[in-house]
Amino acid sequence: MKRKEFLHLSAMSIGAMMLPKFSLLGNPITAEEALYEGLDVSTKKALADVALQAATSKGATYADIRIGRYLNQFVTTREKKVQGIANTESLGVGIRVIANGSWGFAATNSFTKEDIARTAEKAVAVAKANSKIITEPVQLAPQKGYGEVTWKTPVEQNAFTVPVKDKVDLLLQANGIAMQGGASFVNSAILAVNEQKYFASTDGSYIDQDIHRIFPTFTVTKIDRASNKFQSRKSLSAPSGMGYEYLTPLADTRVAGIVTRYKGRYDLLEDIKNATADVEQKLKAKSVEPGKYDLVLDPSHLWLTIHESVAHPTELDRVLGYEANYAGTSFLTLDKWKAGNFKFGSDLVNIVGDKLQPGSLGAVGYDDEGVKCKEWDIIKNGVLVNYQAIRDQAHIIGLKESQGCCYAQTWADVQFQRMPNVSLRPGTSPLSVDDMIKNVEKGIYIVGDGSFSIDQQRYNFQFGGQTFYEIKNGKIVGMLNDVAYQANTQEFWNSCTAIADASDYRLGGAFNDGKGQPSQSNAVSHGSSTTRFNGVNVINTARKI
């Protein structure tokens, strides 16, 4: 995640209606207007054909068009106050072509046939101009046209149909629980996203998709005025590819333990109560003794470690050097993949890429260049076996077709390789979290994601968390403070000694995975079961100023 994006999102969830900023995301609309049907499919198809024809008549050998309507809703509160309610809509068309062997892109928010044709021609002109400074022509993996197809996130309750008042009431009720429990401050928010995307290409695909995401979140803060210390605890929710049903817990939603965690659905009111108790405990918790510990990492924490140390270094554009000036390159160079025996992790470590998992942020029917989504192994029994690729990269790693990892954050941005869901497969032998902890002599159990930082080739990382529990001789003995762990990616994944079974498997994720210049955001989930890593270096982060 990029700090700019992180700050932007934090500012949105904490910071009220700085409305001029919202125009970047789209135009303000009413909640009711978000429910209006967009253009009908036949109109979109007609516009798409105009673009594809205009591009090919000007010499494009390939063209695609994305007609997008992107809806966002933000409801933000603090304590007893509603800070902001925003509904935004962004509507427009992005056209990408290959001409003279080079990519070109142009976008417009006008929907007249003339402007769309003009934009297609502009994309061709850009491609031709760029073709003078390329070293090799674009090589596109073959892709069959799917004809006219549709895909929709299987939501039970479209979040945009839920009255804003219900969301405000839920958040203020949650805030009330925190304040009654002794919190000094509480911020809470519900973010909802709906991408209505129509894709068409000269391959003969006309793909209409309706994609939904939701993210309820809060931060509870308690200040001890006497000692001048303060502690916070964030929600243990996971941003999800779901509708509002995510906020209705089912019988099997709660994962019991030292603190309740959530699977598939989420109980906001229960979690905020627990968070309020946690901040109280965090203020009194003892400072960690630095040294080597066995770490037991909950999926609400481990998703971020997977994101940074596995998902990013296996992005093929980073491996090839396309991100060298910004996000960085990767230690997982092509020679390590070619060798076929590069031991990324222990034999237990099996990492899979997919854009299929129900409820995940990455789940769509087709990617943003019209490739049907799938699942594939990236790390198998600890060995690097694959990357994440799109159509113009597939040939580089000997693939006959794309893995479907192409995404653009809006119609106005050019699509490029973005990470799919990248997840750690659960253990194959039955193992519960309790049984895992029983075998740990000196360890720390970490729940929730916190501070994160990793180098530009993804070797050295440091992670914090939300709550840290000391494990002594197989038992949790209390809470710790000031914990961060530092490791080398390969050493860390090779120290993986136990993975809980599939019954513990859960997703975590983020709306704001950042890459590219100009930077674009991508929403992605990472699944795992609770996992143990042996002998990891833990530092103490307490300082005096």
Partner: protein, 444 residues
């Protein structure tokens, strides 16, 4: 829409306000025209041209506020936007922190627009990339870089008669050069209002020199070292302090500036007395806008004077609660320094580490402003006043407050760009003792 003149913008905004039926109305108008080009593996990868204008209407009835945005400027569209904002305001819940619009303000002149930058063409962008690639090819290195330029205007008017207008231009260029064996990497980043100050070939040569010089780095033990932070490295830590100088967080007890019993460290000595930090929109080397998006004047503000915390920034709501002047968050950071060059700082160092860039900076503890991150693109061991050899990258855990208390020497300020936030700054290279490196990284 071309860049509107002050008179044209004023006429358009007056027309919009004439449609208003709300208690209060405020209109912001932005327009910009720009382009970018990106390259990697010694060839162009993507490029684009972006032209956009936005008119934002904010209407309020009491403390109920609604906003609408539009990019069409005929009378009917303008009226529609005003009606839309009024409709949204009526539907909105009360915002208890909403503030009435500002009365007319006095603004200083602006130096942020340079016609030459506004005149940048796609061909100039492509030529600049060609220049950068020529350096890479000559030195047998692999280049990846990004050029982004824009020219724009901003105007606002409200129902109390406030009017503000500004034009600005910006060009930024950053490049990474790597050795073909991947063992060396160098970076350069430049940003200006005036494109004539940007020398792409020179910046690329700096990155090329660092790429070659950083090859085959040796490992040093992590620990506390005297470091010389080049401005591009220092700014990413310094800005973390800047961004956290918010009065409300300090008053609420959840800031590094909070003190027991609800007090703050405002007025107290916080860092070494050689540290003076201010912002000034009129600085000729780094001009910024004389007003903010909510109409407040941006004036010269001294934040830290000889080590003493002098000012914090406020929202208008919080300033009213505290009955103080609502100083806005600044657009730039300027730190006073000395006259020594970077070379002079190196010459005067017996043992130390030269850090050219810090990367992936994240907060570890908001109470102490402890941040972590890594060195990147050229880190060097200094002995007896000379650079001896490149060293492997380190992870650090450090607080800018501790760092500015461990100050040894400041050099001559120069203009730099934060690689984390894109904030522009004019700050000196800094020599710091006991900078905390906590582990080694194999990254290059």
């Amino acid at each position: 829409m071309p860049i509107l003149s002050k008179e044209e913008a004023q006429a358009l905004l007056k027309k919009v306000l004439a449609f208003s039926k709300a208690d209060e109305c405020e209109v912001n108008l932005y327009g910009s025209d720009g382009g970018n080009i990106r390259y990697a593996r010694n060839a162009v990868s993507t490029s684009g041209g972006i032209s956009s204008t936005t008119l934002i209407v904010q209407s309020s009835f009491g403390k109920k506020v609604g906003t609408a945005t539009i990019n069409e400027y005929d009378d009917a569209s303008l009226e529609k936007a005003v009606r839309r904002s009024e409709e949204l305001a009526r539907l909105a819940p009360e915002n208890p922190e909403h503030m009435p619009v500002l009365a007319p303000q006095q603004y200083a002149g602006s130096k942020t627009y340079v016609p030459a930058t506004a005149g940048i063409t796609p061909k100039m962008r492509a030529d600049a990339v060609a220049q950068s690639l020529a350096v890479a090819n000559e030195k047998d290195l692999v280049a990846a870089g990004f050029w982004d330029n824009n020219a724009g205007f901003a105007a606002m008017m409200n129902s109390k008669g406030l009017f503000a207008y500004n034009t600005s231009t910006n060009v930024s260029f950053n490049v990474t050069l790597r050795t073909k064996d991947g063992k060396g990497s160098g970076y350069a980043s430049k940003g200006y209002n005036d494109v004539s100050k940007l020398d792409v070939a020179a910046a690329t040569r700096v990155a090329a020199q660092k790429a070659a010089a950083s090859s085959n780095a040796r490992a040093l033990e992590p620990g506390k070292y005297t470091v010389i932070l080049e401005p591009a490295a220092a700014i990413v830590l310094l800005e973390t302090m800047f961004m956290n100088m918010d009065a409300r967080s300090a008053d609420e007890g959840r800031s590094f500036l909070s003190k027991p019993g609800g007090k703050t460290k405002l007025g107290e000595k916080l860092v070494d007395e050689r540290v003076t930090l201010y912002s000034d929109p009129q600085n000729p080397d780094m001009p910024t806008s004389p007003w903010t998006g909510d109409g407040r004047p941006q004036e010269k503000v001294t934040w830290i004077d000889k080590g003493v915390m002098k000012n914090l920034f406020y929202s208008r709501y919080w300033a009213q609660q505290k009955n103080v002047k609502a100083i806005p968050f600044p657009d730039s950071a300027i730190m006073e320094g000395g006259s020594a060059s970077l070379e002079d700082l190196i010459k005067g160092t017996e043992k130390g580490i030269l850090v050219t860039r810090l990367w992936y900076i994240r907060e570890v503890d908001p109470q102490t402003l402890l941040y972590t991150g890594l060195t990147r693109d050229g880190t060097f061991y200094i002995e007896n006043g000379q650079i001896k050899y490149p060293v492997k990258n380190f992870r650090f855990n450090e607080s800018p407050i501790i760092m500015l208390n461990n100050l040894e020497e400041l050099g001559k300020p120069e203009r730099t760009v934060s690689g984390e936030s894109d904030i522009q700054a004019l700050i000196p290279p800094m020599k710091i003792r006991d900078f905390t490196f906590t582990s080694l990284s194999d990254a290059i």
